[in-house]
Each structure stands twice: as C-alpha cells, then as structure tokens.
C-alpha cells in the first residue's frame, strides 16, 4: 500500500500534527515504561525510535495512528517523524495486519529451492482457513537462513526447509499458538561444517511457543534459548 498522499490524496489544508499533549494522550503504562527505558539507553533519545515503534506495534498489531501518537507523546517527537520512519522499514506495518506474521523468504537462494511455490501455497492456505485475516503472510527478502532454504520466519521463529506439504501443519501450529514445526526449527540445527565439532554433540532443543507476532520486543518473547533471561 502506498503512503498517504501518494495515490490517494492527502488533506493539505490540515495543519501538521504537533507533538501530542501528555495531558490528553493516554498511553498504556507498560508501553510508556518500555519506551522510556529504551530512551535512557542512548545518548540521544531519537535512537529509541525503532525499539519504541516495535513495542507499540506489538501492542496495537500495527503502527496505527493511535500507536504512533502514543510513541510520539512519550518520545516528544511529531507523529510525522515517526510515520516517515515506520514507512521505511519492512517489519513495521503501516496498515492493519494480522496478529501472526509468516515471512516466507523468496530471495535468490530460497527461490532456487522452490520458495515461490511455498509462498503461494502458504498465502492461499492462510486466506482459506479460519481466522485468515489474523495471519499476515508476506514474501520477504533474504532472512539469512539459506542453509534451511526454502524457509519462513513464523512470528520470529525460523523454520525450514519447507515444502507446500508442510503448510497445513504450519498453519495449524500458528493457529493453536503452540510450538511451530519443532522438527524443522533452525534453532535445533548443528553447523554444516563436519570439521567444526571435534566430537558428537546432541541436537539443540527447539524453541517453545511462538510469541505474539510482530517485530522484536523483550516482552514479546519468552526465553528463546535455554538459560536466556530477561534483558534487564
């Protein structure tokens, strides 16, 4: 979808939105705390823009006008500034999106191994099934997992290699909110180079159930590797 003012006209009579007034802009307390913690991490508070938008997207499902306004209020920046940033990045949604995201990599290495058919099959199956509007299936650029091509990132969990035959089970796992294709998770995989390990090591455990979707945020994710705890 094009940004506002591109194909569809934008209301140029309206003055640009100003930095929201904290007195009249309610911001959920947890979101406020998270954004403020991010701002404190950096010498310049603007650096917290991406983590803040990611946190807001997690809460609202997408970078909605309401989400943008809340971030703008806490960060003391204009909504326009945040919209300009949000529209630049692929993982920030600028229109309503489902609670679950499936990014199917369709870049060169995956497409050489059948990713385009996988994407079409996933999109069609998600649209047909129950709650299809809650599953956001997207063709994505290289996700950096060409060793399990063709692959997908399901609510941030990498799975592959996948064929169209894996799609029903994949969607079933997503809808159930449980662990996604545990036997196909990248996290389990040992390095390909047989000279790397001097002895036989067990397979790594798969990741537990998928998060709430959307980009990264500490609260979104349960410990993702054994022993991995909270950030602070």
């Amino acid at each position: 979808m094009s940004p506002r003012g591109w194909d569809a006209p934008s209301d140029l009579e309206k003055p640009p939105a100003e930095i929201p007034d904290p007195a009249t802009t309610p911001v959920p307390e947890q979101l406020r705390r998270e954004i403020e913690a991010h701002m404190a991490d950096y010498p310049d508070r603007h650096s917290a823009t991406l983590p803040a938008l990611a946190a807001a997207q997690l809460l609202h499902g997408w970078c909605s006008p309401e989400a943008i306004e809340q971030v703008a209020c806490v960060m003391r920046v204009t909504p326009a500034y945040l919209e300009s940033v949000a529209s630049f990045y692929d993982m920030l949604e600028t229109s309503p999106a489902g609670r679950h995201s499936i990014y199917v990599c369709t870049n060169i290495s995956c497409s050489l191994r059948g990713a385009d058919a996988l994407f079409e099959a996933t999109r069609a199956a998600a649209a047909d099934g129950v709650g299809g509007d809650q599953i956001n299936v997207r063709a994505f650029e290289c996700l950096g997992a060409c060793d399990i091509a063709p692959m997908a990132s399901v609510d941030g969990v990498y799975v592959g290699p996948l064929g169209p035959e894996d799609v029903p089970r994949l969607l079933q796992d997503v809808r159930a909110g449980g662990t996604v294709l545990p036997h196909k998770q990248l996290a389990r995989l040992r390095v390909a180079d047989p000279r790397a390990n001097s002895r036989e090591f067990p397979e790594h455990p798969p990741l537990p159930g998928a998060g709430a979707g959307a980009p990264t945020s500490e609260q979104s994710r349960r410990p993702s590797a054994p022993g991995v705890g909270d950030r602070r």
């Binding site: 650096s47 991406l50 290289c142 180079d193 790397a196 993702s224 590797a225 991995v228 950030r231």
Partner: protein, 430 residues
Amino acid sequence: MAAPPAGVGGNLILLLADIDEPGLFTREVYERRGGYESLRKALASTPEEVLAQLEASNLRGRGGAGFAMGKKVSFLPKGSMDKYLVCNADESEPGTFKDRELMQKNPHMLLEGIVIASYAAGAERAFIYIRGEYALQADVLDAALVEARAAGYVGADILGSGHTLSLIVHRGAGAYICGEETGLLDSLEGKRGNPRLKPPFPANQGLYQGPTLINNVETLATVPAIIRMGGEEYARLGVETSTGTKVVSVSGHVQRPGNYEVELGTSSREIIYGLAGGPPPEREVKCWFPGGSSSPVLTAAELDLPYDFDSMAKAGSMLGSGAIIVVDDSTPILDVALKVAKFYRHESCGKCTPCREGTNWTVEMLERVECGEATPMDLDIMASVQEHIIGNCLCVLGDAMAMPIGSMIAKFRTEFEQHIEQARARREAA
C-alpha cells in the same frame, strides 16, 4: 547426506570450533574453554600494543568491503572525545548467514572481540546493530550481555583496567540498506536508513557526529583469536593479502548448504564440491556468486580460482561477505537476473536517482525480455544502464545490482538472446 571426504578444506577451525557444544552461549562454558583470556591479555597491554597486533594480523573486514581492520581502527582520531564502536550485525546480503550462526551459538566470542576492539580504539560506547529478523540471536546476545556485565567484562573500569564500555544490542526493523555503514548510522540515530555522503567517513564523523569504528560481526569475533595467537602468527594463515580463516555460507543448488570455515586461498571448487557437495546428481554448475548476490557471477570455468579477496577481484568479482550462491544448469539465467534486480529495486532507499531509477528500469527491461517485447538491442541498453549506475550514487546499493546484472548480460548474452527470440515467437503465435 554423506559427509565430505576427509582432509577437504584443511583442518584449521578458529571460529566454528566446537560451536555446537551444549551451553556454549553461557559464560560458564565459554570461560571453561578459555574465553575472556584474550581480553585479560589485551587489557594487560596498552591500547597501542593491541592495535599493533590487529595491524600485524592483516585481518580484512568480513562484511563485504574487505578493508584492513587494524587500519580502520588507526583512522580514529586520538584524544579524549566521545568515540563509538558499532558492530554491524545487519547481515542482509542475500546468501549470507555466517554471523547468524556465530551470534546464536557463541555470543561471548563476539562480546569479547567488541570489548578488545573498543579498548584499542578508545571507544567507551558500543552498539550491536542486529537486523530485526534475527530475534533469537538478539535475545541470545542480550542474555550473554547480562552475564558479561555481571562478570565485569562490560561496564565501568573493566577488570580494573580503567577502560569503560557501555554496550547495547539495537534491533533493526527490516531494511537491507541498513547494512551499509552510513545507512546503519542514520538508522541507529532513529531515522530512515538513508546513506550519507562520504567524506566525512565514519572514522571522523559517524554516530552522533563522533568518531566511529564500524566492523562486521565475524571481523570482531576473530579478534580474540588474534590476541590469543598474536597478530603475526594469525597472518601466517591464509594467503599473503587475505590472511586467516573465513566462514563461508554456501547455498542454492548444493547438496549440503551451510557454513564452512576455510583458510582463505582454498580452491573454490573444494568449497563448493568438496565441502558443500556440489549440485545435485546429473546437474552442473551454471554460475555462482562468490560473495552474495551483489557480486558479479562467475562461471563453471572459474571454479578453480582460489577463494580469497584478491583472486576474486582479479576475476572481476569480489569475495564480498563470503556467501557462495550456486546456480545449476536447470535454472534460466533470466530468472536469476530478475530475482536479483527485483530485490535491489525493493531495497533501494530512493535517495540517489541512478539507483532508484536504474533498479526500476532494469526490472522493467528484464520483464520485457521475459514476455517477448524486447529486442537484442535492449540488452545493450540494459548494460549501459548498469554502467551509468556504478560509481554515481552515495552508496553501493545500485552498484550491487549493476555488477551482477552486467556480468550476467556479458557472460550469458547468447542465452538472453535465445530468451528474447523464443519469447517473441511465443508472443507472436498467441
């Protein structure tokens, strides 16, 4: 899948050594294996001595450009201003997945390298800019960072040395251009990831306008090994102008895709066939990208080239990020060209006209070839569009499309002409 024959690729493993050992991502296991000893050793000497070791190692950057790491550190101005170190973990070059494996399984090795490099550079603030898609790896790094802080490896007065470093894991949100160092800096400052005009180079004016050292994950993860071995000893590995070992991501039409660590200068055939198993049975290599999808393609006749920076450059391509993508003879070259061009069109930030328009028109012209509207003359126009992109933009994203597309037109012109001919015939028949 059968294992590769013994002896292939040499036996020297530095970065991937026992990488699947259970619990390696914890400080306990990492330390048991001698982890953070290099940091102690480095902090016991002066920053100048550490820098001398890095320079002696001749380590060249593993992110794409292959610039000497020690030299990069030495470019930072001396004196007591705010300096920054940024670890580029935005691994987005198609075909590249080496940093992912290193960060996920051995995060402390990267943290140790960052702390040592920050000591040599005099930087007191560091950031790991990791692509947002790498959620698991970012969480692993954050957890490792908590452990490292608790042990006094990161923070104020590290191990009583007087060196202070604050370190933050910063998650991106999905943009290839943020792997370009100045685009990354803008993104880290909370803006759209548009590249900046250079000069000034980041070593002088980078993050928050301060002197900034930017290095790739693998480069920094190699630093502890250099300090352990000594720079000169490390420089004995590999070949003269490409020292050391390199983790190579092999993908596409090979039987054992994955990460392999080789000494630079190993034959490309040994990597593609010996280690990664080569294309499926009955298939031949048609072309291969030696350094991610941005590198000009090489053909089957060039498989015996040594895999190092200068040999790849001499062959008209580049080692890039060390990602070999193999395409076998079952795939039309047009499909490969379209995939690559569409990717760069999508990722162009739009700031510079040659890149924004050039990537778009290249895709449109390739689509004309596909649907039978093109003539052989269009191939010349397409080639000239590529030439007009190269060197005419703030960053090399446009070049990154122009180089491989130009090489495909040059090396597979006959096949393109056949495509045009056949597609026209089909179109006229319809």
